[in-house]
Subunit: 367 residues, 4 copies
């Protein structure tokens, strides 16, 4: 058991989630590396100090460079705006410090490419924080597919749908401006990452996107409310995705259906402790989708949850993430999803944007 000093840049929503996770992960997973909340950085001295006190950090700063350079900060978590990801990551890697970066990797494919280069040049641990894929259910889905439990995969349907902007009267916010904050930039990466994690690379796609509500109280919306795509995975599977922030009634519509020649899988984050599995075996009379509650028999189920049915929630996903990041640091092994995996996501998003412009099928490898 050895302590490791953690520095978190950003103390808002995700910064807090990471701070709590770093406090809890040692006890939960009995990790060899034990995080010490060393420093938090925020945009002003006041908010940095507030975060420090609230989350239990030793020190605070309003200068992220000071944090990155501090010798007691041995690993960096980036929970700051997308635009800052690249610069921070490059600085941390330059000092040989491991980095876990909030999704999406960078504000553009160019940024993402530079970040991968920096990470790989440094040879240190790097990871993108796609939390939703960390549920035991989604980890189990990945395992089932890899093991061939549903045979040859013939179809993928995924969606990331929420409704926080469904009402046209919801006022304009920062989310309504800038490509990176639109649905394709902000929500789609979660599900694209899931698709890549579950089925491997996407070869080509045809996409379309739209702004349904162009005017909101307080401003003109310049990014997309929803987008969709048809795609072909490199393994040959055909697929379909939909992303929306105006999907009335959907609160965490991170959902997928995967069909194979011998079975099928369905998952919906709105019922995150269950996964539905169909297997084309045994007598017809007893076939159907089985609702499996995740439990100790599944990957990443929290060790103190002794039985299925105890259940994990959002914060637990972040704790699992922290465990995996610590493991990467400790073992020196790449942990999925690495920055390179995050770049793959960014390229798919970029390809979708290009396709949406002219309505044609595009190859991802050209983007």
């Amino acid at each position: 058991m050895r302590e490791i000093g953690i520095g978190i840049i950003g103390g808002g929503y995700m910064g807090k989630a990471h701070a709590v996770a770093m406090s809890a992960v040692g006890a939960v997973f009995d990790t060899p590396l034990r995080p010490r909340l060393e420093m938090v950085a925020a945009s002003s001295p006041e908010s940095a100090e507030r975060y420090r006190a609230a989350y239990g950090f030793a020190r605070a700063t309003d200068d992220w460079r000071a944090l990155v350079e501090d010798p007691r900060v041995e690993a960096v978590v980036i929970a700051a705006p997308q635009e800052t990801h690249r610069e921070i990551a490059e600085a941390a890697f330059a000092r040989g410090k491991p980095v876990m970066c909030e999704k999406p990797l960078g504000a553009s494919v160019e940024d993402a490419r530079a970040m991968v280069a920096a990470a790989e040049a440094s040879g240190t641990a790097n990871m993108v924080a796609f939390n939703y894929i960390r549920t035991p259910a989604s980890q189990f889905a990945r395992q089932l597919i890899a093991e061939g439990a549903i045979g040859e995969v013939t179809w993928f349907r995924g969606e990331h749908t929420e409704d926080f902007l469904a009402d046209p009267e919801t006022p304009f916010t920062w989310r309504c401006a800038g490509e990176a904050n639109g649905t394709l930039g902000d929500l789609a990466p979660h599900m694209v990452n899931a698709a890549l994690a579950l089925l491997g690379p996407i070869a080509s796609l045809s996409a379309t996107m739209e702004t349904v509500h162009t005017e909101r109280p307080g401003g003109r919306v310049d990014n997309d409310d929803q987008a969709q795509l048809m795609c072909r995975f490199a393994r040959g599977t055909m697929g379909q995705m939909h992303f929306s922030r105006i999907a009335t009634g959907r609160k965490m519509g991170y959902a997928y259906e995967i069909t194979g020649t011998k079975g099928a899988i369905r998952f919906d984050q709105e019922d995150q402790n269950a996964i539905h599995l169909y297997r084309a075996e045994g007598p017809e009379a007893t076939r159907g989708f089985t609702r499996i509650l995740t439990g100790p028999a599944h990957p990443d189920y929290l060790p103190f949850c002794q039985g299925p049915g105890h259940g994990t929630g959002y914060q637990d996903q972040i704790i699992i993430e922290a465990r995996d990041f610590l493991r990467a640091i400790e073992t020196g092994e790449t942990v999925w999803p690495s920055f390179r995996d995050g770049l793959e996501v960014a390229r798919v998003i970029e390809t979708a944007r290009a396709s949406a412009r002219d309505g044609r099928w595009r190859d991802v490898e050209k983007h």
Copy 2:
């Protein structure tokens, strides 16, 4: 109450369903017109006689022309192969006899156009038998949308997925040959019809299709196992559809999700007596999808089913269809879906085929 002589061409699966429906509809709905099972036509005298005896027809014939021309046959139901639809319908309309035709309307858009012309020239009742849309649940969905219960519609997702050919070892059958028998030709029309019925015409689309299992025991498959499309409805709504006969685990995956600015609807034929409705009204704390069991408060619920929860099944859809066909004959009014509505479906299918060839978006009006 007046009797009407019914002639049914085809005595197999659908012919039987229509015969049972015509026997039952009068008692069930207390219809002013009361069907009399006058004559059944089949491909051989033996099978025609067998159907006659089994279903209770007065007479049998192996010549559909004899049926169409018989003066005691006052209305014709076509439940014969797609290739015969046009010729039969034209003959019946030429004699001024009402026709209910199984889906799809014809084997091609050309056939469908000719059938619409014949129907409209005759001025008599004409109807396409898209049974699934006849559930009280789907009729209620249609009503909700028309009344604006979910506001402006912003998204449509539909699928018609089954798994009867999911196993690559399932032998080659007639379903594996010929464009009309593929997924786009045979399954897609149900869901395309639903989309048109619920949201109105489709303006443009981009589609793709594929044969996943090209070889089966007994023959080489030459039509599509699955297809998908992205579309834009004339009303402006963006949508997505998927059709498959290899969707392992799906038995009657006739399902749709429709999102609007004020609510959302979900339906799945595998739970045909329920519809899920979300409405963005009232306190946040009590919002969610409501599972509504269809009952007497909904359109077309069978009158002898006094309470919600009694439930309707497949045969009941055909009985409702028979009621609507009889009503069209009696009132002289067009009943939905007319042959013209069936032609709209055929054009969308045709457009999808064209788009799948080059991967580009296509306008339906040009097909």
Copy 3:
């Protein structure tokens, strides 16, 4: 194929359902005996004539004795009030005519006993019309238990709950008066019959009942709104039941959960085309309740419904019942549930009433 003249006493809700079923059953199941709607009896000449015309009977009468005695009436269906069941059945059996009687068998245990005696003395077909147990799902549950698919049964929970009197402002009707029309008399027999059909006889029980809303607009309620019981089956299994007509939100809450040492079954009539099966076999990681859609692989699935997912509804249950009654007549074999089975149900109800009076456990064999 031979015709059989059917006489139905009662033309209301259930009389109509039986008339439609008798019209359809021959074509649906290709039965050797083919029903001919010979005569309907009702309480006045006018209503009898109305039913005749609406449902397609050859003749009508306002005298049930005339119907029973008519030589062209070869089998009798009793769909008249409970109080008349005994007298009609005795008259029919005295003439050697088969009888299908609506549930419950008689208005009292005494009536039921006399009806069993008459049925067995006549040696002719006799059957009680407990329709809900006729779904393919419930027939499959029965088969699974009999085959030991869930091991030794250790628990049964059943309910029959509806909400037609949930609102205290719903006016007084005939349902609010008389023991036989209360929840225990009118709703409970369905679920008690299910319990007996699935697990065999009940040995002992402790029950309680209550009238929650004693006053309604238009009158004072003198029978029970809800009742419950704990029981021990003769096979040793412990169980629990609840019956209610004030169960707000429940439309057809005919539901049961059966647990065994190797598995478990759940069913709810509000999703009548599915049954949920858990089996304690295979790896822990893939265990869960499987939602099985009923289809051709299950008992009694309608033959024209080729695939699972087509679905059956309320009317189909009555058609299956008609098929079974015809089969009993044809083969001379007892078909379940016979009048003797109906008597068993009546005795359980009677025992529950006795227990509810003093709150003690009672043996069913003493009632």
Copy 4:
């Protein structure tokens, strides 16, 4: 913000959960009191030291008295075996230290009474750790009922069912011996507590219990595998409960259904982030059970979970518990469920045991 030294007695499953919760609660809820993990006690020096290191306590001891008496320990959490609860609590209260005690309160009603006396004599914070009732869903159910959202409550059904001993071949463990470790002693308190929390006191009941599998590999079972009861709440509502550790297929079957004159609630811990609400208002056509995902609009939803759908899990329940215990210490107000509430649960259990002996209805107030 002020620190408070926490001592936890017991470092196993529940001790760990409380330790993690105490680490996280300050950051999660921004609590005025900030826990410091001061000391952990276990049965041997080795295990105490192991827990200390793993969970991050400052000190360890194998003597719970040392912990209770230590001046830096300002609040005590009891996560040791039931038999020790009373002695520890009495010692802590004697020193004026607040106590949170794992359920059930004591090993007997006598113990529970003594613990309430000690708690109330000391005037310090006391709380029983019934975690399952802490979900936002169950807290919302409680609020709905209190506000009259479902009208006058007419029915309660609850169950706590799991399947960890469903297989008769599962070997004998400590859970198979001793009244306190049986289903009524160990599982029932959770659901009885829920019933009391939701509907208030139970006036009378009739219960039955049984050991289904009396012999297991390794020993003879002397306590109950399952139990059930019928009850009457003091408010007049009739109810039914079932408790089982042999409920094959149930992983966390902590579930209830509550019916009122104007609505109904359903909850199942196996889908802990949702609650189902029916309200008898608005048009019949849109009524049904609404599946509400818990979110920021509901009580106790974790503040860093910004949207519904993020979801809480088992550990989050313990964090909420920690928050409430800290609040009780800080404000000096009684926090539900207090030791007195825990005693009420124990009395219901005791009454059920007495009733199960002779099968008669019993008044809780006499136990």
